[in-house]
Each structure stands twice: as C-alpha cells, then as structure tokens.
Point group: none
Chain length 198, copies 2
Amino acid sequence: MQLTRRQQEIYQVLRDNLEHYQQPPTFEELCGLLGLKSRGSLHKHIQALVAAGLVEPMGGLKRGIRLVDPEVEEGIPYLGRIAAGRPIEAIPQGEPMQIPDQLLGKGPCYVLQVAGDSMIEAGIQDGDYVVIEQQAQAQNGDIVVALIRNEEATLKRIEQRPGEVILHPANPSMSAMVYPTQEVRIQGVLRGLLRSYL
Amino acid sequence: MQLTRRQQEIYQVLRDNLEHYQQPPTFEELCGLLGLKSRGSLHKHIQALVAAGLVEPMGGLKRGIRLVDPEVEEGIPYLGRIAAGRPIEAIPQGEPMQIPDQLLGKGPCYVLQVAGDSMIEAGIQDGDYVVIEQQAQAQNGDIVVALIRNEEATLKRIEQRPGEVILHPANPSMSAMVYPTQEVRIQGVLRGLLRSYL
DNA sequence: TAGAATAGAGAACAACCGGAGAACAAATCA
DNA sequence: TGATTTGTTCTCCGGTTGTTCTCTATTCTA
C-alpha cells in the first residue's frame, strides 16, 4: 500500500511524538501539531495508516489515539545462514531474535547463522549465531561479512592492502584468499556471537 | 491492557504514596489526594488497575490497597568469573543479564564469565560469557562447572567413570585431571555462550 | 480541459472517560 | 453489641474524543 506525502508526514510526526511522550496524543492535539483544524481530516489519514498496517486499529476505544505500532518488535532480524562459498541464503521474513544489548553495535545489526568451520580457530563454530553490524568499512583484523564478486558471502578476518584485500580464514586446513579491492564488498562487521548447547 | 491517562496518574500517586507511608491509604484519603469527591469514582479506577495486574485485589479489607510486586527485572543473574584453578568469584548482587531464550535451559540458569583458555578448542575463549543451567547431574561429554574439593571451580568437559571423574580441558597444552568421585561436585551444565567483539 | 486523487473544513453523532452521589455491605472501633 | 468507618455497587451526567458525513479547494494526470 502506497502512502501519500501527507500520510508519511503524519506517520513521522506520530513516531516522533511517541518517543517524547508515553501517552499517545489525542486527535485534537495531533491536529494542533499538524496545523489541522478538523479532526475528520486527520481521521481519514489515520485510517489510511491503519490500512497500511502502520497504526494499530483502535477498535472503538475512545481515549487518546491508540498506540501506533511503531515497530517496537524488540529484536534483531535473523537473516539466514552464511557459508564459505555461497551467498547468504536470505530469508525474506527475517524473524527477530532477542539479542542482549552487550552484543549490539551502534548501527543497525542483523544475525546470521554460521555454516562451516572456516573460522574454527577464532572460536566460531558451525551453527553459531553471529551478530553483524551493518557497515561498509572495517579495520584490518576485524572479522567481516564480505561479499565477493557479488556472488558469495563469507565470514573472514580481513586485511586490506593497497589494491587488494586478503581474507584470512581461521582454519589450518584452509588458506587465505586474495582479491582485487573492487571485487570485495564489506557488508558488516562481527560484533557478537551466540551459541546454544541445547 | 491499556491504561487511560487518569489511571496512570492514579497509579503514580499510589506508588509515590506507598514509598512515604507504611500503611496503604484509605479511599477517602486518596480521594483527597486526587481531588475526587466520590469514592465510587476512585473505586472504578482502582478496579481498572487491578484488571491490569498492577494492584492486588483487596478482598474487602480496609486499607487494603497494595501494589503488585513490580515484576522483577527480567534476566539471568551474572554471578562472576570462573577460572581454572580458583573458586568462582561470586558477586553477591549478581546484576541480571538479558539472555535470549534459545540459550536458556529448562531449569534455573546463571551466567559466568570465562577466565583463561582451558577450553579454547571447544570454541570457548577468555572473556566469553557462558550460560549455565544449575543441576547436579551431567552426561559424559557435557561441559560442566565442576567444584573440586569444595575449593576451586572450573569449566571442563566431564567424563564420569565408576569411582572417578575425569575433567578434560580442550587445550593441547593442558592435560586431563582425574579425581575421586566424591571430590567433584557438578554445579551446572553449559547451555549457551555469548561473546562480544566490541 | 475534464476527471481523479489528495487534502482540508466543519457539522452531526456516538461511545467513552471521568466524576458525583446514593445505597448497601463488610470491617473495625468504642 | 451498636456506631462508624471503609470498600463496593449502582445509576446518572457532562465533556471529551473518535467516527462518519458532506462539501470545497488544490494538484496531478490523461
């Protein structure tokens, strides 16, 4: 469902407002905030947002605009598995995982499940979940998700030299790979790791 | 259950009031405090708070308004560090950590921080956090927290034989230790692991 | 330029919120 | 025990707030 310009604007105001006050605003307050004089006009826009699934339908409840659904779904999207030698098998509907704050970077993060033992000596095992902070730069020595020739994604320790990039596995039976700089795109940096023994 | 504006206000007053006085207030006093003239009106609000699970239902008692115990902080207690060769440095006020459900066992759990590299080949590094499910039994091959002679606690892979217990480190430079069964007490089994790269 | 889509005004309506107060029952006190 | 306080239930009321209309102005598109 496509939002009109005004609807996006109103949705933005709603989100901003929810960060500042715990009580949802009333239509009257919102009208003032938006420069509207008619609650009816506002109601039309809210209905559009409800239809778009961005606002909780307030079934008959009268007091205060019902809480917007501000994507409060706590959690970090789980995007799929990453293997050496294959692109990320993206799961479109990445269901969120609950990740402790300590493992989160400042920027947007996502979770991948590691397939393969290529980083075994760095303490990263087959089946572990890794928390990746999405960013395009990394420092030498960081463990990154690297996309090679837009084909395959892999989790390796990175070493960037003029004109070339070396991806070091942490497995004695595998050797480092060297690529021209332009063939490697950094997709994120390892920030945390989770493992379940259940 | 969504609280209305007035209900939140009243709940706040209740909390403030209970901090200052031992005795819960009577409806009449509360009415005065809130500027109400009718006990009936107040009662309606209190009922809403009871329905929301914030106030204990008072079965006809006088001065019976009591708050429900504020849901204790979700989380698993962080108890301290565990090193090979030393007892757990217990932190009495273990501040809770937020642990994803996937890493929790069925029983009570706690979190320790690993000190030392004795389990490095099992992918457990110095500084990692381990989630331990509290139990006294384990299966051979489990990684457990073992208390030796009531003196030192250690994280090792366990092998139980008739009359003796073998604790296997996962580090080529260390060797397994053998103890009489009665000298080793299992304090818990490894269920999860977290690592932060920040 | 006609028509659709977007945006707003304003009136009328209905449901809800918050409160008043009476009547009653149960607990507490004298 | 009797009187008083206190909690409970009930009805009623008015203002607020969400909803539904209709009508108008503007912008974009065919």
